[in-house]
């Protein structure tokens, strides 16, 4: 069984305020990579292919994925700001080329929280999908997968036939730490770089992001000398009394 894991490079969500945010693999996608590795380790998968779309800068996250244990990686060389539909169309072409039995990916990226690509990809391919998954088991000689889905009402267990799209939720697993031996092995693993033209897919975003603004910053407070002063200022400046 071959598993394709699409992953996105996002600014580190755990970087402290003020620190120059370095890029990391989207945490939900990292969970998908970890799950693919576990499936391979229990002998149910033979190859894990990672794919990401972006400029050469994302090679660092590709190396992290390879260091975790992904067998080989593909970078679709495209530095445009693509929307979920464009991404899904590129991935569909790649899925057709690679012919995996399972596409395993994060339920959403933590930078734009779109939560669309897995679903759109399933739609474009006409494949079944299991989203927000917290447990995966393969059944019937790996022709079907039984997936537990985290919903507001509780855990829903569904069975889908393969090939299929599975998107991962937070509680599926805890991704492993990249070890030095993993890092060394990753140096010898291939990264294929290919662009949309070579892949034969012509995409342009249908959505345009107009602006991104962070919430207003809280300014420092002032220390007052007395309760009288507080009352005065609440009346005159804040006008709340």
């Amino acid at each position: 069984m071959k598993i394709l894991v699409p992953f996105k490079s996002v600014p580190d969500p755990y970087a402290g305020a003020g620190a120059a945010a370095k890029s990391v693999i989207n945490p939900f996608d990292e969970i998908a990579i970890e799950e693919a590795l576990r499936i391979r380790e229990r002998g149910e998968a033979t190859e894990i292919v990672g794919v990401t779309i972006g400029a050469p800068a994302v090679d660092e996250q590709i190396r992290s994925a390879l260091a975790m244990g992904v067998d080989r990686a593909i970078r679709i060389d495209d530095s445009r700001a693509l929307d979920p539909y464009a991404i899904s169309r590129i991935l569909r072409t790649l899925v057709e080329r690679e012919a995996p039995q399972v596409v395993l990916m994060g339920k959403q990226a933590v930078d734009d929280d779109s939560n669309q690509v897995g679903q759109m990809l399933a739609g474009l391919l006409g494949w079944p999908q299991a989203t927000f998954v917290s447990k995966i088991e393969f059944l019937d000689n790996k022709t079907r997968a039984q997936c537990s889905r985290e919903t507001d009402g509780g855990i829903e267990v569904i069975a889908i036939s393969l090939p299929a799209i599975i998107t991962t939720d937070l509680r599926l697993n805890e991704p492993r730490y990249v070890s030095l031996p993993g890092l060394m092995k990753a140096r010898k693993k291939p990264i294929e770089v290919i662009n949309c033209e070579q892949l034969g897919v012509n995409v342009h975003p249908l959505t345009t992001t107009l602006s991104v603004a962070s919430p207003p910053r809280r300014t420092a407070g002032t220390r007052l000398e007395s309760v009288e002063e507080l009352v005065t200022r609440l009346k005159q400046e804040a006008k709340v009394l």
């Binding site: 190396r63 730490y177 990249v178 070890s179 030095l180 031996p181 890092l183 060394m184 140096r187």
Partner: protein, 381 residues
């Protein structure tokens, strides 16, 4: 001369930085007080690849050259405040793994190195005895051949990792009349008949690194566990001791760097007489001296490792690096306490522990006096 790291070295060192700061941060005050060895952290380091850094890939290591290895250990010391764990790891690497790498038979290397690299086995070195310390080769422990076995009798003291060791490299005399040329080395496994590892020794610093006395009472060691030839013990010891001196304090350079940064932060934050204490010249000078010590220590460490990687003899360089780093480390800790005033003396501030951890470095792997003897002799004195 090129002082730049290659991309591959930088990638590896960044990974160690991240590993140490994210995976090896835990409460040290309680662990130090109760002298707790962190087994879990040891295993994590093994899984991550620390112990196997200098070992070739066929035995489960990462085949890194000496300079990359010491730089990685420096990062470990920077990110992980458990100086005892760092010391146990370094003792394991330089006094057990390295002698095995250089002198082990194929069968011995296959048997022990993969486990010593991946964290499943703990190694140590038993040379010092109650009556032979600096004059190590005057040891009294004996090994007498009996068929396909050796029978060991005697005792060892100050054995780092002794109480938790799976395998110890033990030096004993197979021929008293030959003196140093009659010393042989043995890989003695935990559980060997007649071996007693149960006597722990309580100490001032690096308290989270277990230390013990080791007793041999007609202890049986199979012949295939002799390391190297009979009588080659003192030669092997001198050779691996050069590695040990040059590298065992790599983590301490990182520790000093962390202390320096802590002191700079504190000197900027702490105000007296309406200004940051760092503005007082006497405080600033201490920090400047600290910086000078860290940098000179780092350069001597790197230079020694660089030369060792080019297969040059580093007998002198290793002694100088050991002397410089250990004495700088102790001075840095003293200054760090002074800069922190009364707070620096209090357990909660975690600086007094650093001084206690540092002081032993002037004793193990050859005392400062012994390093000075070596340097003097290399200068023709």
């Amino acid at each position: 001369m090129d002082f730049a790291w290659s991309d591959q070295q930088r990638e590896l060192l960044d990974a160690v930085d991240r590993f140490a700061s994210e995976q090896l941060r835990y409460d040290m005050i309680e662990n130090d007080r109760n002298a707790v060895f962190n087994h879990d952290a040891w295993k994590k380091c093994g899984g991550f690849g620390i112990q196997g850094l200098p070992v070739s890939e066929e035995y489960g290591g990462l085949a890194q050259d000496p300079i990359t290895t010491v730089a990685a250990l420096e990062r470990l010391g920077y990110g992980c405040k458990d100086n005892g764990l760092n010391f146990s790891i370094n003792a394991h690497m330089w006094t057990a793994i390295i002698p095995l790498v250089y002198n082990g038979s194929e069968a011995q290397k296959k048997k022990y190195l993969p486990g010593l690299c991946d964290g499943s086995l703990i190694g140590g070195n038993a040379m010092s005895e109650p009556n032979s310390g600096s004059d190590a080769f005057s040891l009294a422990t004996t090994a007498v051949r009996k068929g396909a076995k050796y029978i060991l009798n005697g005792s060892k003291i100050f054995v780092t990792n002794g109480p938790i060791a799976d395998v110890l490299l033990v030096f004993a005399s197979t021929d008293k009349a030959k003196g140093a040329a009659g010393i042989s080395a043995f890989l003695v496994e935990k559980g060997s008949p007649g071996l007693d590892l149960s006597h722990k020794i309580e100490k001032m610093g690096v308290r989270t690194s277990p230390m013990g006395e080791v007793f041999f009472e007609d202890c049986e060691v199979p012949e295939e566990n002799r390391l190297g030839k009979e009588g080659a013990g003192s030669w092997m010891f001198t050779r691996s001791m050069t590695w040990e001196r040059g590298c065992i304090l790599a983590a301490s350079v990182g520790t000093m760097q962390r202390l320096l940064e802590t002191c700079i932060r504190y000197a900027n934050e702490r105000k007296q007489n309406g200004q940051s204490i760092g503005k007082f010249q006497q405080v600033a000078t201490k920090i400047v001296d600290m910086k000078m010590r860290v940098e000179s220590s780092r350069h001597m460490l790197y230079h020694c490792a660089w030369a060792a990687g080019r297969r040059k003899a580093v007998y002198l360089e290793a002694a100088m690096a050991k002397l410089q780093i250990s004495e700088s480390w102790v001075r840095c800790c003293e200054d760090a306490i002074q800069i922190h005033g009364g707070y620096g003396y209090m357990t909660e501030y975690e600086i007094e522990r650093e001084l206690r951890d540092a002081i032993g470095s002037k004793l193990y792997s050859g005392t400062s006096e012994v390093q000075r003897n070596i340097i003097a002799s290399m200068l023709g004195l």
